[in-house]
C-alpha cells in the first residue's frame, strides 16, 4: 500500500467517525476541511470526536493534541503518525 492510499483510507474512516459524532450523514471530508466548516463542532463534540478516533484506530491522543485541529489533513497526519509508531 502506498502512503497516498493509506491516507485515503484513513480519511474515509475519519469521515465515518465524523458523521456519527457530529450526527450529520451529509459530511464530506477533505484534507482542507476545518472546524469552522462543521456546524456541530464545539468543545464537547471535539473531545468526543477525539475519543471516537481513539476507539476507531486503537490509539491515544495527548491533552496538548486535543483542541488545536487546524484542518482535517493535519488530523489525518496525526493519526498516521500514531498508527505507524
Amino acid at each position: 500500500m502506498t502512503n497516498n492510499q493509506s491516507k485515503q483510507t484513513n480519511l474515509e474512516r475519519l469521515e465515518t467517525v465524523f458523521k456519527e459524532v457530529f450526527d450529520d450523514s451529509a459530511i464530506v471530508l477533505t484534507e482542507r476541511t476545518t472546524p469552522a466548516d462543521i456546524e456541530a463542532w464545539d468543545s464537547l463534540s471535539n473531545l468526543r470526536m477525539f475519543m471516537a478516533l481513539e476507539n476507531e484506530f486503537g490509539i491515544r491522543f495527548a491533552t496538548q493534541e486535543i483542541g488545536h485541529v487546524q484542518d482535517v489533513g493535519w488530523l489525518v497526519d496525526l493519526v498516521d503518525s500514531k498508527i505507524i509508531s
Binding site: E20, S43, L47, R48, A52, T63
Partner: protein, 631 residues
C-alpha cells in the same frame, strides 16, 4: 451476539443493540405513535454506548413531539451540577425509557447551583421538578484545593454547604432530593498510610461519604451511590483527568451509560416500578446439567466442584434476595415430578420447596407460564425478572412479553451472580420489616389458595382464616411502610396519588385530614400493613383522596371492613356525604367499579376519572367475617 469479555461499563446484562440500530433509530419518525414508542423502548433496552445513546436521544427528542401521550409515567428531574452534563443528559433520557419512564430534564446553568437553589424563580424551582439530583463533583465543592496538614476539617462545611442547597431546592419548588456521594480518588500521597492521614483526598472523601450517610438516616432524601459504582468499575477506569481538564467531564465517558442506568433505576424505584419476583429456569441456571437426562446424581451443584459452586452461588443469591422480600418462582421445561424432587430430596440443594412461591415445570411456552406466575401471585407482568441460560427462551420471552426483564447470561456460570446483580432489577428505596416477611406472606397466600378450594362457600372460608384487622390513624411508627405502600401499590389504588414521607408525616397532625392504616393478621400469619386511606375533610363532605390496598389481600372483604370504619368515623363527626374519586391508570382496572359496589352513585366524570357520592344515612351495616380492632 455475546458480550465478551464481560465489562461492567458495557451493560452486559442487556442484549447487544441490533445491527440495524442506526437505521432503526433514524426511522423512528416514520412509525405511527404507539409503535414509535414501543420501538424506542426496545432500542433503549439494549446495551447502548455513549454515542449510540446520544444518537437515540436526539432522534427521540424530535420523534416524541408528535406523540405527546407516551403512555409512560413522566418524571421531571432537575440536575444541579458543577460539571459538564452534555453527555450525561441524553444517556439519562435513554436509560429512563429502558426503565419505563418518560424523563424531562432541567439542568442548572454551569456554576450556578446555589443560585438555582435559593431563587424561587430559577428555572429549576419554577419547573417544580419531581426530584432534584445534586450531582456534585468533589473538584467543585468547597474543599481545600490541595493537601494541607495544618488545615481544619472542611468536610463538615462542605456538607453544610450542600445541605443549604438542598433546603433551598426543597423550600422553593423541588419535591424530593437525590444526593450523590463522592467517588474516591485512585491515587494517594502516602501509600498505605493514606486513609490515616487527615486532609488527604482519600480521608476527606471517606469522611464526606460517611457524614452524608449519617445525615440521610431517617430522611426521605435519596442517595445515588456513585462511590459504590465507581469502585465497582475500578477507580482508575472511572476517573479521567483528561476529560475533566478538557471539558469538565466528571468521570470517564465510557462510564456514562452505566451511571445513567443506575440513576434511572433509582428514579424508577421512586415511582414504584422496581421488580418484585425472580423467576428462574432450572437446568444450567440453578444447577449444572439437565436433570431429565443426567438424573438426580448427574446434576452439578456440589461444594468443592468449581462448576457446582458457580450454580450454588446462584441458589444462594436467590435465597438472599428472598430474605430481602423478593419472591422466587420457577419456570422450567421439565417433568414436574422430576424437577420438584430435586428441591425436596437433593442433599446439595440450597433452595427448597418452601422458598418457591410458584413452581411451574411443564412443556408449554415460557411466556404463557410467566403470565400464569404473575396471575397466581397477583402481581404485574412487569414485576418479573426471568433468568434463563437458553438464549432462544430469552428471545422468545423478550418478544412475547417485553415488560418482563430478561437479563443476558454469559456462557460462564461463574458470572451469573455478577451479571444478575449488575442488572439492578431490585433497586430499593427503603427496607422495612414488611419487606423481610413478604416472601413468607406470599407463601402463606399460596397455602390459603389451596385451602380456599376446600371451602365451597367464600364466607365460610374467610371465617376459617380467623382474620383480625387492626385499624388506626397514621403515626410515626407506621410512616415508612405507609410511604412504601402509597408509592408501590398500582392495582388496588383508586387515585394512584403518590405522597412522600414529608407529606405523610404532615398528615399525622393535620386536623383537616382523616387517615387510616390497616394491618391484617390471620391464622397463617401477620400480613403486615395492607391498606391505607386518606380523607380530606371538605365542607361539602369527606373526600376520599387516596384508598389503596395490597393485592395480597384482595377478595377477603377487607375493603368492606375499611368502608365500615370510614362510615362510622363520618357518622361520629356528623358528616352526611362521602365523596370518592377514581382515576384510571393502565393498572387499576380492578377497582373501576369499587365505589359502585360499595353503594356509591357516580356524580360526574367518565371512564378516565370519576367522582362518586355516598349518603351516610343510607348506610346498612354489614356483617363481616373478621374481627376489627381499633386504636
Amino acid at each position: 451476539m455475546d458480550h465478551s469479555p464481560w465489562s461492567f461499563e458495557q451493560l452486559p446484562w442487556l442484549p447487544l443493540p441490533s445491527a440495524d440500530f442506526a437505521r432503526l433509530s433514524d426511522a423512528l419518525p416514520q412509525l405511527p405513535c404507539p409503535e414509535r414508542i414501543r420501538t424506542v423502548c426496545t432500542l433503549a433496552g439494549s446495551a447502548l454506548n455513549t454515542d449510540q445513546s446520544i444518537r437515540l436521544a436526539r432522534r427521540w427528542r424530535k420523534a416524541r413531539i408528535e406523540c405527546p401521550r407516551t403512555g409512560l409515567p413522566t418524571f421531571r428531574l432537575a440536575i444541579a451540577s458543577n460539571a459538564t452534563l452534555g453527555l450525561i443528559l441524553p444517556c439519562i433520557e435513554v436509560s429512563a425509557l429502558r426503565h419505563g419512564l418518560h424523563l424531562e430534564v432541567i439542568a442548572t446553568d454551569f456554576g450556578q447551583t446555589m443560585q438555582a437553589a435559593l431563587d424561587v424563580n430559577s428555572s429549576v424551582n419554577a419547573a417544580r421538578p419531581d426530584a432534584i439530583l445534586m450531582a456534585m463533583d468533589h473538584r467543585g465543592l468547597p474543599f481545600l484545593p490541595g493537601f494541607d496538614p495544618e488545615a481544619t476539617d472542611s468536610v463538615c462545611e462542605t456538607l453544610d454547604h450542600l445541605e443549604r442547597m438542598r433546603d433551598g431546592f426543597l423550600r422553593n419548588g423541588c419535591q424530593a432530593v437525590i444526593w450523590q456521594n463522592l467517588a474516591p480518588t485512585p491515587e494517594g500521597l502516602f501509600g498505605s498510610l493514606e486513609p490515616m492521614i487527615p486532609n488527604t483526598w482519600r480521608w476527606r472523601i471517606e469522611r464526606f461519604n460517611q457524614g452524608l450517610i449519617e445525615r440521610l438516616q431517617g430522611s426521605s432524601d435519596r442517595l445515588l451511590d456513585v462511590a459504590g459504582l465507581a469502585m465497582a468499575v475500578g477507580l482508575h477506569r472511572w476517573h479521567d483527568a483528561r476529560g475533566w481538564q478538557q471539558a469538565r467531564l466528571p468521570f470517564s465517558t465510557a462510564c456514562v451509560p452505566l451511571y445513567a442506568d443506575h440513576l434511572s433505576r433509582l428514579l424508577a424505584a421512586m415511582r414504584g416500578r422496581s421488580r418484585k419476583c425472580l423467576v428462574l429456569d432450572l437446568d444450567n441456571t440453578l444447577w449444572g446439567g439437565v436433570i431429565g437426562d443426567d438424573g438426580m446424581t448427574g446434576i452439578r451443584m456440589a461444594e468443592g466442584d468449581p462448576v457446582g459452586e458457580a450454580y450454588r452461588a446462584m441458589q444462594r443469591l436467590a435465597l438472599d434476595l428472598r430474605a430481602r422480600g423478593i419472591l422466587l418462582a420457577i419456570c422450567s421445561k421439565n417433568d414436574a415430578e422430576i424437577a420438584s424432587r430435586a428441591f425436596r430430596e437433593h442433599p446439595e440443594m440450597i433452595l427448597r420447596p418452601e422458598h418457591i412461591a410458584v413452581f411451574i415445570a411443564n412443556w408449554e411456552d415460557k411466556a404463557s407460564n410467566l403470565r400464569r406466575i404473575a396471575e397466581r401471585l397477583n402481581i404485574g407482568i412487569d414485576s418479573l425478572v426471568f433468568v434463563d441460560d437458553n438464549p432462544v427462551e430469552r428471545a422468545q420471552v423478550r418478544s412475547a412479553l417485553p415488560e418482563v426483564a430478561v437479563p443476558e447470561l454469559p456462557e460462564d456460570p461463574a458470572l451469573y451472580v455478577t451479571t444478575l446483580l449488575a442488572g439492578g432489577y431490585f433497586e430499593a428505596i427503603g427496607f422495612t420489616s414488611e419487606d423481610r416477611q413478604r416472601a413468607d406472606q406470599y407463601q402463606a397466600n399460596a397455602t390459603r389458595e389451596e385451602s380456599r378450594a376446600e371451602h365451597a362457600d367464600l364466607d365460610g372460608f374467610l371465617q376459617s382464616l380467623e382474620m383480625r384487622l387492626l385499624m388506626q390513624p397514621f403515626d410515626a411508627l407506621g410512616r415508612a411502610r405507609i410511604v412504601q405502600l402509597v408509592n408501590k401499590t398500582n392495582q388496588f389504588n383508586l387515585t394512584t396519588q403518590r405522597y412522600d414521607a414529608r407529606e405523610i408525616e404532615r398528615m399525622e397532625q393535620d386536623p383537616s385530614k382523616w387517615t387510616l392504616q390497616v394491618r391484617l393478621l390471620d391464622r397463617f400469619g401477620d400480613n403486615g400493613m395492607i391498606s391505607v386511606v386518606i380523607i380530606d375533610k371538605r365542607a361539602d363532605g369527606w373526600m376520599i383522596e387516596a384508598w389503596l390496598m395490597s393485592c395480597r389481600v384482595i377478595s377477603r372483604r377487607v375493603e368492606e371492613a375499611v368502608f365500615e370504619r370510614i362510615v362510622a368515623a363520618a357518622r361520629q363527626a356528623g358528616v352526611e356525604v362521602l365523596l370518592g374519586s377514581y382515576v384510571a391508570t393502565e393498572r387499576n382496572g380492578l377497582v373501576r367499579e369499587h365505589y359502585r359496589k360499595l353503594g356509591f352513585e357516580r356524580l360526574s366524570g367518565d371512564d378516565a376519572a370519576s367522582i362518586w357520592r355516598f349518603r351516610v344515612a343510607d348506610h346498612v351495616t354489614r356483617s363481616l367475617p373478621m374481627i376489627i380492632e381499633e386504636n
